[in-house]
């Protein structure tokens, strides 16, 4: 398993069966598909382009607008319809990615110094309105910071931060480690983080099950998202 594959499987596990999940773009597309094919067959996926799905995408997707994500959708509607329901409180769990995160769960996807990033997309809306948020990020010292350079997204609820090193809880009491991936030490996490985590309850991230590996293989057959 590559670090990205480990992150995506960990992200899939955060989705509970029957939940409404705001999926968005990139890696969460794969996490939603794995969750649907394994432990959360009744999860419903919202996509900001206006799609609502009760099944995983019907094939490999790069964007939420690709034909396999349109085919078999439950609803094809407007951005305002889907994001209006998000603001109205209908979404249990929403996914985001980012360049920088701080201990309060503030996320920056706008700019770092003079470097311009892609911007919020739907991320800021998702963090503001979803019951809880899930962030997927590379774990590097320059990304896990004491204070973000720009607040793009401010989470309303608790945050599960899934990184290449482990799974962490933010904005729900002091920052804490929930699990570290196989072979990762507390010292490595501490060295790569700009704020301290409470490690007292940390376990080792469970190895991917056969079903999870098969679902990953199915959702990302070419390894575009999770390969080397």
């Amino acid at each position: 398993m590559t670090p990205r594959a480990t992150m995506v499987v960990a992200a899939a596990r955060v989705i509970r069966d029957g939940e409404v999940v705001f999926v968005g773009m990139r890696l969460p597309l794969i996490a939603f598909a794995i969750a649907k094919m394994t432990h959360a067959p009744h999860a419903i996926g919202f996509f900001e382009n206006g799609l609502i799905r009760d099944t995983p995408a019907d094939g490999h997707v790069i964007t939420m607008g690709d034909a396999p994500n349109q085919r078999g959708a439950l609803v094809a509607t407007t951005l305002l319809d889907v994001m209006g329901m998000l603001q109205g409180g209908r979404v249990d769990c929403g996914f985001l990615g980012g360049a920088e995160v701080d201990a309060l769960g503030n996320l920056n996807t706008t700019r770092v110094g003079a470097t311009r990033l892609t911007g919020s997309g739907g991320g800021s809306d998702i963090a503001a309105h979803a019951g809880r948020s899930v962030y997927i990020m590379e774990h590097e010292r320059r990304r896990i910071v004491e204070r973000v350079a720009y607040i793009t997204s401010k989470p309303r609820g608790p945050v599960t931060l899934i990184t290449t090193l482990g799974v962490f809880a933010l904005n729900d009491g002091p920052p804490r480690a929930l699990s570290l991936h196989d072979g990762v030490t507390r010292a490595t996490v501490a060295a790569q983080s700009g704020f301290a985590f409470d490690f007292s309850g940390a376990t080792t991230t469970r190895e991917a099950t056969t079903a999870e590996r098969e679902a990953l293989e199915n959702a990302d057959p070419t390894g575009f998202w999770t390969g080397s």
Partner: protein, 291 residues
């Protein structure tokens, strides 16, 4: 009197897109991006445009790289497959363009306010974020009914909305299938609307009014442009041409690479017919969506 709306892309862009216009050509998010119309804007040398999002998968990056753009109002600009829009980043970091940062929801709300003729919309989004510092677009306001503070999003009016549809008749009555993004709000917020369509159909073929989401009364020009959204996906008609996007992302890493890409795919082809001939029938056939 019934106006003739069916025309060529060259004529539609010449008549309805002007220097300095506020333009949205990104209404379907990643789907149905009107690349053919965007490339004609480049060939006609439009300048000083403000491009309005929410998102654009590479077309806005191309228009920026071709020098057509002064400002961008969007939630996300890049290449969805690879992440970054290189022309966008170069232009913004050098100060060649200005950016107003929205979120997807606030941008759509601003478009809807303009469509409905009211000065602003109200949201719970973006409180406590850096975006609130952009006071030309956002203000914190009291709830007149005594509730908590809200963010007002100023109405986002457009001069032109350009939409690619699967089906449209000669009067501009269009059916968009698949996700709609901000298509409905954008065409209603715009003074002028250009519809490029994969199929030009007769009025009586549009026999499911629930699917007719753009009434022709809003539309100024109808242009029959088969494959007019390539390489973007068009629901029920065409898959996304991933390899084409990847090649664009790679080429646009450098200014020289982008110049070569532009010469080959925009300036080097007279129109979309020539572009499709260059792509080849086999490639287009392989992208035909499964039913």
């Amino acid at each position: 009197m019934r106006a003739e709306k069916v025309t060529s892309l060259r004529d539609a862009i010449a008549r309805f897109v002007r220097d300095g216009d506020r333009v949205s050509a990104a209404c379907g998010l990643e789907a149905r991006i009107p690349f053919a119309a965007g490339h004609e804007i480049v060939r006609q040398g439009r300048k000083h445009l403000t491009l309005v999002g929410p998102i654009s998968d590479a077309l806005y990056d191309q228009l920026i790289g071709c020098g057509c753009v002064d400002a961008i109002e969007a939630a996300w600009v890049g290449n969805v497959g690879s992440g970054l829009g290189y022309n966008f980043r170069r232009a913004l970091e050098s100060g060649a363009i200005r950016m107003t940062d929205y979120t997807n929801l606030t941008l759509a709300l601003g478009l809807r306010a303009a469509a409905e003729g009211v000065p602003f919309a109200v949201t719970r989004s973006i409180a406590g974020t850096g975006m609130t510092e952009q006071t030309a677009a956002f203000r914190t306001i009291a709830d007149p009914f005594g509730g908590e503070e809200m963010t007002a999003v100023r109405a986002i009016a457009l001069d032109v909305a350009i939409v690619h549809a699967q089906y449209c008749d000669r009067d501009g009555n269009a059916q968009i299938l698949g996700n709609l993004g901000t298509t409905l709000e954008s065409v209603r917020a715009a003074k002028r609307v250009i519809v490029t369509t994969d199929a030009l159909v007769e009025r009586d073929e549009l026999d499911m009014p629930n699917l007719a989401n753009i009434p022709g009364l809003l539309v100024d020009a109808v242009v029959h442009v088969p494959n007019g959204a390539h390489p973007a996906p068009v629901p029920y008609r065409a898959e996304r041409d991933h390899a084409f996007f990847d090649a664009y992302a790679e080429a646009s890493r450098t200014e020289a690479g982008f110049a070569a890409w532009r010469a080959a795919w925009i300036d080097g082809v007279a129109d979309r017919r020539a572009y499709c001939a260059k792509l080849g029938n086999d490639r287009l056939a392989a992208l035909k969506a499964q039913a």
